[in-house]
């Protein structure tokens, strides 16, 4: 191994390349075996009927046609989409609001931050078990709180029109990680921008609309996409709290997929469901990026990776 090779960036050293390939080999193998391969496999499986035990049978597009006559498919798509449309923007607004409050120079900020962030790190199964009790109609914390204002709270998880709102409300409890990201974004905004705005006579609201929002819009975009993908992966909450009920009002997409795959062993149909979801998320993400140019502001290449 000659030393001068190290100092010639234009000429690639064989030894260095070999080392690099060895270092990334586990990832390449893992990608082929556990990600890339399975993605293609799932597409192929989606064209079959397969219960794993017996050999798969070619089904062509039957699984995709079945979807159109499966009312639960549409129900799960509807439930998940409504959840995403309501929960994700609410999480952004609440997370940003708390972050704005924490971005002022006040005391005890570390303690507040801990309190708001803590629920976000708790394991989801525990959270689901806990919230089933918190949302209980007769003995729950939420309805006790409402009763202080003379409101007689509903059976959150037992009435079809309240179960999904209850899960959305619960999701706001975990808004802490988003809050931290906004806080970091807010702290990265140069203060001279605000000073300049103040000199120009801009009020707080004007500063918020014309400085804060544009400056953290890339972070909001990021959270929007991440939140959307997370919304389509909601599983443990309905599985443990409502089993998709009442009347399928919390039949999330992944729950429907899970039942087809691991309860009815319809691997072909479940794979078709997963591909439709994949495409649906991809299209939504593309749409968000497409329309993001109108409202996302980038500071220039320097901050881009």
């Amino acid at each position: 191994m000659q030393i001068h090779n190290v100092f010639q960036p234009k000429r690639l050293s064989f030894w260095e390349s070999l080392n690099a390939w060895i270092f990334v080999a586990p990832w390449i193998l893992g990608f082929l075996l556990f990600t890339g391969g399975p993605i293609l496999a799932s597409l192929v499986i989606s064209f079959t009927h397969w219960d794993i035990v017996n050999p798969p049978q070619w089904a062509g597009l039957v699984n995709y046609e079945t979807m159109f006559s499966d009312p639960l498919f549409f129900q799960s798509l509807k439930v998940t989409t409504i959840y995403a449309l309501l929960a994700v923007p609410l999480q952004i607004v609440v997370g940003l609001f708390i972050a704005m409050l924490l971005n002022t120079k006040i005391r005890l900020i570390g303690i507040y931050r801990t309190f708001f962030y803590l629920p976000a790190v708790l394991p989801i199964v525990s959270v689901a078990v806990m919230w089933r009790w918190i949302l209980s109609r007769d003995w729950g914390l939420i309805n006790w709180f409402l009763s202080l204002f003379g409101v007689y709270g509903p059976g959150w998880l037992s009435e079809p029109e309240w179960a999904l709102p209850a899960l959305i409300l619960m999701s706001l409890w975990g808004v802490g990680s988003g809050m931290l990201i906004y806080l970091a974004g807010l702290q990265g905004i140069p203060t001279d921008l605000y000073e300049a705005a103040e000199v120009d006579g801009a009020g707080r609201w004007a500063s918020f609309v014309h400085i804060t929002l544009p400056m953290i819009s890339p972070v909001i975009l990021f959270q929007l996409v991440v939140g959307l993908i997370a919304a389509f992966q909601v599983f443990a909450q309905p599985f443990i709290m409502t089993q998709g009920g009442p009347q399928n009002s919390t039949l999330f997409y992944l729950l429907h997929l899970f039942r087809n795959a691991f309860e009815f062993f319809r691997m072909g149909y479940a794979s078709a469901l997963s591909w439709v979801l994949f495409m649906y998320i991809a299209v939504l993400t593309l749409l968000i990026f497409r329309f993001s140019a109108a409202w996302v502001f980038y500071e220039g290449e320097i901050r881009n990776e």
């Binding site: 050293s13 260095e16 390349s17 080392n19 690099a20 270092f23 990334v24 586990p26 990832w27 990608f31 075996l33 556990f34 990600t35 399975p38 799932s42 499986i45 409050l101 002022t104 006040i106 005890l108 303690i111 507040y112 309190f115 708001f116 962030y117 803590l118 629920p119 708790l122 394991p123 989801i124 199964v125 525990s126 078990v129 806990m130 009790w133 918190i134 007769d138 003995w139 006790w144 009763s147 409890w173 990680s177 931290l180 970091a184 974004g185 990265g188 000073e195 103040e198 000199v199 972070v219 990021f222 992966q233 599983f235 443990a236 992944l254 795959a261 691997m267 794979s271 994949f278 993400t285």
Partner: protein
């Protein structure tokens, strides 16, 4: 710049000071109210977990139980083998920490610091896989592991870890290693240090924070993980805490105080970890958001 700040300070002081004081008080009030709202569910659950069966169903609820039913905890935790669930969860966490930190950091090192053909293309693939929802690979992976006879073992949860299955960690390591200087590496190379030597003696020791962030992520994800353990593990002796708690939730549905004690038990290790390692939790999240 100087002119601007001068003009800003030229404003009459009292007129500017009063509204900020008011705002500070208002901010504190909202933050305290918010903190209470965020903590109340947890307090309520802990309080329920310490009530006797007869005291649980009272309205309005009493937040300080009387008498305090400490026995709920031993009762709940011996009703099912929670010690085994705990051990299994720790075992999986340790296995995943070893596999993922090794494989992801090495890949991150190659992407950040080595020069080779194909680097950018492959790194683009890493970024692409970040966007793929887990549902898509769920079924083929299950079938693969079923055909390998790995169902009802820890292998489906551990083995992919050794193959850098988490693209986000590869990305995280790569980004961190990118910030480390090339000079030290080149100097070590001149002294005859191998590439793996550069990694173990220079890169890794100087990247402890990112290893800590990743390890904490893995512990938290592992505690959180539900769907995958549920489809792969069927024997109760192999259950994790999340699976055990779900089973408990079904069998002790009506004994709310025991159920809450069990769920508090599952949560406590993460809460403790959080209080001691808060810095790394926060660093991880902030890094995700700002570099994403």
């Amino acid at each position: 710049m100087a002119a601007i700040s001068q003009r800003a300070t030229l404003k009459p002081a009292p007129a500017q000071k009063r509204p900020t004081d008011w705002l500070k008080i208002l901010t504190h009030v909202i933050l305290i109210a918010g903190s209470i709202m965020f903590l109340m569910p947890f307090i309520y659950v802990v309080s329920t977990s310490l009530k006797t069966a007869g005291d649980v169903y009272t309205f309005p609820p009493e937040f300080i139980p009387e008498p305090i039913a400490w026995q709920n905890y031993p009762e709940a935790l011996t009703a099912m083998p929670f010690d085994i669930f705990f051990f299994n969860t720790i075992l999986l966490a340790v296995g995943r920490i070893i596999g993922l930190t090794l494989s992801c950091s090495l890949a991150g090192f190659a992407f950040a610091k080595l020069r080779w053909r194909g680097r950018n293309t492959l790194f683009f693939v890493v970024l692409l896989t970040l966007m793929i929802p887990t549902e898509v690979t769920l079924i083929p992976r299950y079938i693969l592991f079923a055909k390998l006879g790995w169902i009802d073992s820890f292998a489906p949860l551990l083995v992919p870890g050794f193959f850098a299955e988490n693209a986000f960690f590869v990305f995280l390591f790569r980004q961190f290693f990118m910030t480390m200087g090339q000079d030290l590496i080149d100097a070590a190379r001149i002294d005859g240090c191998s590439f793996i030597g550069v990694f173990t003696r220079i890169i890794a020791p100087n990247a402890k924070p990112v290893f800590a962030v990743v390890a904490i992520y893995i512990i938290q994800n592992n505690w959180n993980s539900f769907l995958l353990p549920m489809i792969y593990l069927t024997d109760r002796a192999k259950y994790t805490l999340a699976l055990g708690l779900r089973l408990f939730n079904e069998q002790y549905y009506s004994q709310t105080q025991l159920l809450m004690a069990a769920s508090v038990f599952v949560v406590v290790p993460i809460v403790i970890l959080f209080f001691f390692m808060q810095r790394y939790f926060i660093q991880g999240v902030v890094f995700t958001g700002s570099k994403g």
